[in-house]
């Protein structure tokens, strides 16, 4: 039995190593009392290191660990987005009750684990790696969602996420099995070659594989009709986690979506393109109409997330460099907008008895302008109004779609955006056009506020640097990249060019 050890490019996997190591350290910190407080700091440190190493690797384009991973600008950019969201999540989690219940060390360790999963997923180019990475991403999230053990909603969301999520991954696995069977390979390139071979192209086995695997991914990216977990989980989970999930999970999912479908399943383009296009359209509609008239902001953002996922899927549908770039750009922009929004929601959750109900932000403009502006900008950006990164993102996507002859999908995006205005502007109206305290007509008692296990109220939360800071910075970034988008565009173009 001759064993040839695989060549290991340590530079390439350094970010992964960093994250893993950091994970362990943070976990240990939970054990040693003196270190317990330092978990957040350590986490941030880890993330910073990983980010640094990733940036160091920027421009690389290599296979790692016998083609288990591929490190390229797409992977790096996505990982960076994930890490950014994780870092901000750490900030938002300061004083978060959930942290107290889970234990700071464990909480942050799990967070890091999820990030690790995302980084791996973004680089995966092998079915096995892909599957494992996906689970490393998901399982910590199942747990994190449930960490606010005091609140029934939290546990419920955890369980729902676990059940439906596992169903999703089972489906994904089954699809992978079929692909493996059809092509006899687990590597993306191998699959691509096999499919391209005569006799395999368009074989039902392969196509079913694509279908099931596609479902698994669509589920993670919360594409309708595989979206239903999204609103519930977003609402139930601790808000910082929601903010992390909302962007990072999508980012990772879309990264592998792109790599898997373009690299591995490229030869079957003709078959899966229209299917994905339809899914995108459906999500746009479902997400946007679902978000109408939601009282819970988190829920509303959940639905809007579905719609946004629909927009982004467009970037994959066209399977072009422009598409990929636009997707990355949109994800980056989305990160900023969402962060701004969620940071404010967290702050209001802690300083008002209304929880995440829209009532919590009524009269915010007069009460806390410094929170009102970020939320306003976030809403306008999500609605894709000009002078925000959101507008440029939509513009980018639409351009890619039109170039890819999917103009009808572009029109869908436009129509969806119109609908979305109804609920985004509703929030703006609540902030600017309603006196504080005045109950919104027909407002159901806010879920968190009403229930006895209400989290402690911190009337000063809105002034805390770790909440106001991220909100303001993210909002500023949203506007900045709306006015001077070129840097972000180049970033996205690099990422997009990695695959084509």
């Amino acid at each position: 039995m001759n064993f040839t050890e695989p060549t290991i490019d340590y530079a390439g996997i350094s970010p992964i190593i960093a994250l893993t190591a950091g994970l362990c350290v943070v976990l240990l910190s939970a054990v040693f009392r003196p270190l317990r407080r330092s978990a957040p700091a350590l986490t941030l440190l880890t993330l910073a290191t990983a980010a640094g190493l990733l940036i160091w690797q920027w421009g690389e384009n290599v296979d790692l660990l016998s083609e288990a991973l591929r490190l390229d600008d797409l992977a790096i950019s996505i990982s960076l987005i994930a890490i950014f969201m994780a870092a901000s999540c750490v900030l938002l989690s300061v004083r978060e009750p959930a942290v107290g219940q889970a234990g700071s060390g464990e909480y942050h360790a799990l967070l890091l684990g999820s990030v690790l999963g995302m980084t791996l997923l973004a680089q995966a180019q092998n079915l096995v790696t892909f599957f494992v990475a996906l689970e490393i991403l998901s399982i910590p999230l199942y747990i994190l969602c449930a960490t606010n053990l005091r609140r029934e909603g939290s546990l419920e969301s955890g369980l729902k996420y676990l059940i439906v999520g596992s169903l999703g991954s089972a489906t994904l696995l089954y699809g992978m099995a079929f692909l493996y069977g059809g092509t006899g390979s687990t590597g993306f390139d191998g699959i691509a070659d096999a499919i391209a071979r005569e006799g395999v192209t368009g074989d039902p086995l392969v196509l079913i594989g694509i279908a099931l695997a596609g479902v698994g991914l669509a589920f993670k990216a919360s594409i309708a009709p595989f979206h239903q977990w999204t609103p519930d989980v977003y609402e139930g989970a601790p808000t910082p986690i929601t903010s992390f999930m909302a962007v990072a999970t999508k980012a990772a999912a879309f990264a592998v979506f792109l790599r898997f479908f373009v690299v591995a399943l490229g030869p079957q383009l003709q078959e899966w393109q229209p299917a994905l296009a339809v899914l995108a359209a459906v999500s746009i509609v479902v997400g946007n109409v679902g978000a109408l008239g939601q009282e819970s902001l988190k829920r509303m953002l959940g639905y809007s997330g579905i719609a946004q996922a629909g927009y982004m899927l467009g970037g994959i549908v066209v399977a072009s460099e422009a598409g990929a770039s636009s997707l990355v750009f949109y994800l980056a922009a989305y990160a900023f907008m969402n962060l701004a929004a969620f940071a404010v929601v967290v702050a209001r959750e802690r300083e008002t008895p209304f929880g995440d109900s829209i009532r919590a932000v009524q009269g915010l403009a007069t009460e806390r302008p410094l929170l009102a502006w970020p939320l306003t900008i976030a809403m306008l950006a999500l609605a894709g109004l000009p002078a925000t990164a959101g507008f440029i993102g939509k513009l980018y996507l639409i351009e890619a779609l039109v170039e890819g002859d999917y103009t009808w999908l572009a029109v869908f995006i436009a129509v969806g955006t119109m609908i979305s205005l109804a609920y985004y502007l509703r929030v703006v109206a609540a902030m600017w056009m309603r006196p504080g305290g005045e109950p919104a007509p027909g407002a159901t008692p806010a879920i968190a506020g009403a229930s006895p296990e209400a989290d402690p109220v911190d009337p000063e939360a809105g002034r805390r640097w770790y909440l106001a800071g991220p909100a303001l910075l993210a909002a500023a970034a949203t506007v900045f990249f709306g006015v001077i988008p070129q840097p972000l565009v180049e970033f996205a173009e690099h990422a997009g060019s990695a695959l084509f």
Partner: protein, 99 residues
């Protein structure tokens, strides 16, 4: 014995598990059903690996087992947590989040 048989069998098991998830309310049983589905996947993987004559499928299967184990652990952990909070062990009664 032809590979087709194995695959069809696995498909049957897969669907059984799926149906189970749809009709059972006890989260416990639902976890079991998930196991069923994953195992169905495993069966397919192993069968295919036999068919194409490389062992990657088997390795995959092993990894899947690990994953399955992890899901179980987490799932059971959630069950316990629910139990501690005196919450009903019935997914139908956990529907505070909806709409």
């Amino acid at each position: 014995m032809n590979v087709e048989w194995y695959i069809v069998l696995s498909a049957l098991l897969f669907c059984t598990g799926a149906v189970g998830i749809l009709i059972r309310r006890s989260p416990m049983v639902i976890l079991l059903c998930l196991e069923l589905m994953l195992n169905a996947g495993n069966l397919a993987l192993v069968a295919f690996s036999r068919m194409v004559g490389n062992q990657e499928g088997q390795v995959f299967a092993i990894v899947v087992m690990v994953v399955a184990a992890c899901e179980v652990v987490v799932g059971l952990g959630l069950l316990v947590a629910l139990f501690r909070r005196k919450l009903p062990l019935n997914v139908d009664e956990l529907r505070e989040l909806r709409g």
